[in-house]
Symmetry: C4
Subunit: 291 residues, 4 copies
């Protein structure tokens, strides 16, 4: 829902071309608005493809000129789109400072900046800026209305998952430091941050193998770390599954959403099916509509 | 279910050998049909084994002749089977253009094509063609009737899983580009597509290690990517588990959707199939349409 | 349950030392039987430790004699135990041919065989035989009575998981062959069996990295394979979770276990809480004890 | 809950500065107590950061003096805190021997010990001791009150998960020994403990790739091991999800355990906390002991 266009955005005027274009750009329920959306998705994907191809050395050397032109073409196209978006809303600043407004801006800025910061020594910087244009991809999610359910369950289990992640990081810090002592720099565990990186890679069962224990004790500690990671990999899955199952079912959360207070004892959190307070037996007001 | 033989296929004639063979080839409920199926499964597995052994250099040099003959024997066998399948159906074109018809064709074609495209320079091409014969393996799934439940839950959660995958790919694109900038070509992140490949390998916790971050910043970004991946690995599991649990249970969804109250004792939450209250025996109003 | 001592085993005689020892060896509910069990667990773990230490080159060269004696001591101890087990049951052959009887035999046999097959050239073979002694470890599970619930859910979801695994192997075969053609022997995909091994390693998100794609196309195919694997990793988890949740809840299965038939309409499968038939309203017999 | 400050700790006196500081240090519900907690969290994180940075060779050489001073500053700060904690409780020994008391002690001891054990040859030992100071990080969990639910489900599924882990280790031992025989020392499987480490790394889908099978038979055995691991990775997830779902729901388990029937309408399945029937308002018999 937060990924939808900001509902507080209003057209700059109720009639005229600004109203027409507002409907085309910000709404998604007419034929013309949908065509505009499809066109934009196509342009975004194409521009990302151009950036990706440009990064491949063999393609860059052969088609540098073409890719450079296309990059500018897309940048101009998105600049016009950005100007239009600003022009047709009543409060352009609100759009410009919203999450999507910033992403729209960042996806055109780097190309312009690459003109101001020329020279061979700034190549690396330019690459950083160009990378930002890939945030364009994020725009795609705006068009997915259905992500609501999945996103909702994720947002509701956010606190629990953050808690879990901090427990994970704590274990990674302790085991990272332990492995730094046990294995030491000559086995690849060059410092504690590197060891922590290794511990995260190991606990999450990624296991690149760029760093790996080589002593017997190190391998034993690693086995223990893996078994710990393997035991708690269940936790985020459990959190999310329980949350999603309950939201598909309209479950405990629906129960919590039941706003009825007992008029006698003040107890909240009644079963939506309940007609009487389970604590004092007082008749409850009718439920505000079942889930 | 979609993996069953196309139910719209009809025998070419109601009597005679074509009817007999139609029943043997396309049906699975008589003794002869089952024997035919078993024979075919055995032939498919054996032919795949021959192709696999032929690819092992040491075996190929010693038994080239034998393996070559066997490959041709299986190809002829499957060609006869393919001809029979065409011969006994009323509408051969419908079979030929169905998914299974195409797989059946592709599993015999490469061997014939290897005669037309001879010479040492085409060895690679021939291998590509031969590989296609392995699609024979896919035929096996046709014989598994029980996959219905599992497949059903997968098909029903298809949209949600696709949505999840596109979110995953979006994150992979952004982080791939980021790592391309942070680590650069001299650390193995040679171009953005390669970096995206690396990001997918990392997020899915595969972690080959053929490419791995080597700078401190790169390792920090990798840790963040891994923690993101680790947090959302729960999503497809949650989707599928909730879907499967609800279909095994015949559904809380179904239960809650049933709005009927017992007129005698007021109990809600009846089985949609129930005609009488399970608590007091009172006749229930008719269900508003089963799920 | 199948891992318990075979309940069909009966003491060789109802009195005397054979009865006494039968109770000590095969039962687990007296003080002496428990002491015997603990002693056996300790001996098994110690003997496995000896084998493990003996395999470490630096320890072997220093303590070869000691470890050799201990290995023989444990072998004699387990041989006596095996003879006792045979002696105190009424039908020794039934025990000898049961799963546990065979494991007990295989855990002592290799040491004796190493006497008959001497000579330096056969050392490798002897090692194979010695490895079998590690099956002793499997004995440990016999003592875990509680594994019943977990094992039960695993056994009940056995068919579904096998189906899933064969789908996994089918995909691995097709993608293995595809990668053999795409990457070829000079990138490590030396033959189709090796490629299939690589595909399994990749789909299961293990990702050793001993073999990894190096061409752009190969990396694209790998990404697709990983996304497929990532989408269906949910399947076994979903199967098992749904099965376990339902057995913890006494759920649909318990419902099926409710043996009450409606005396009027014959419907089975009532809610254990139900007092009246949900189909015809007939009073049900009392439930045979709630789950 | 076990991670909270020990509820049996009592202030040394009911009035005076000791009471004041007891409330600041051990309680978390006043403004000053919260400020103290925040300050302590900040100090812990900063001190861990200093240790981490000190381990990076390039930073150590440039800022050795600064980092050394900061390490001593934090050590003194935590020493004062430790002394305060001892001073304000009635029974200092009970605190000192509690889990948190020991962690608090271990997080300051190593720095002092590094004075007593000087000399270049003992540098490695000092590193071991310094690592222990990272246990400070563990203190952080004390401040997370919400981890109760997640921790509770983990604690309740503890037995099942331990059982699962021992099954995992058993399989790892058998397959480790098998691979030691199949692949042998010249392929990296130098001894059985190393092979077991490899089997754990493989089954848990970490797959570093530092050791990998190279023979055809070894790769086949590895594939089997991976498929086994892939099938049972569902088990801890299933256990935890089922446990968490049931505790979020307030539980079918709880519901089923409550045997009370409403004497008026006969409804069963009441909340164990309920004193009145939620359907008809009738007073319920007292619950037979809450779950």
């Amino acid at each position: 829902m937060r990924l939808q266009a900001d509902p507080t955005l209003e057209p700059a005027s109720e009639t005229g071309w600004r109203r027409t274009w507002f409907d085309i750009i910000y709404r998604h329920d007419t034929r013309r608005a949908r065509n505009f959306d499809l066109l934009l998705i196509f342009a975004i994907l194409a521009s990302v493809l151009v950036i990706m191809l440009d990064s491949v050395a063999s393609i860059h050397t052969r088609h540098a000129r073409l890719l450079y032109s296309m990059e500018w073409a897309f940048t101009l196209l998105f600049s016009i789109e950005y100007a239009m978006r600003l022009a047709v809303v009543r409060n352009p600043l609100r759009y410009a400072l919203s999450l999507w407004g910033l992403i729209d801006l960042f996806s055109i800025l780097p190309t312009y900046l690459s003109l101001l910061v020329p020279g061979s020594q700034s190549l690396l910087v330019v690459r950083v800026l160009r990378m930002l244009r890939l945030f364009r991809v994020l725009k795609l999610t705006r068009y997915v209305e259905e992500s609501g359910v999945l996103m909702g369950a994720l947002v509701r289990s956010r606190r629990k998952i953050l808690l879990f992640l901090s427990a994970l990081v704590t274990i990674a810090v302790v085991f990272g430091a332990l492995m730094y002592v046990v294995e030491g720099p000559h086995h690849g565990f060059t410092d504690i941050p590197t060891s922590i990186y290794w511990a995260i890679v190991t606990m999450a069962t990624v296991g690149f193998g760029d760093i790996a224990p080589q002593s017997a004790l190190g391998r034993f500690v690693t086995s223990v770390l893996i078994l710990i990671g393997y035991s708690i990999i269940a936790v985020p899955t459990g959190i999310y599954t329980a949350e999603l199952a309950s939201s598909l079912r309209g479950g405990p959360d629906a129960g919590q959403a039941d706003p009825r207070l007992c008029t006698a004892c003040g107890l909240q959190g009644h079963d939506p099916l309940a007609a009487y307070c389970r604590q004092c037996g007082q008749a409850l007001p009718p439920a505000p509509g079942s889930t």
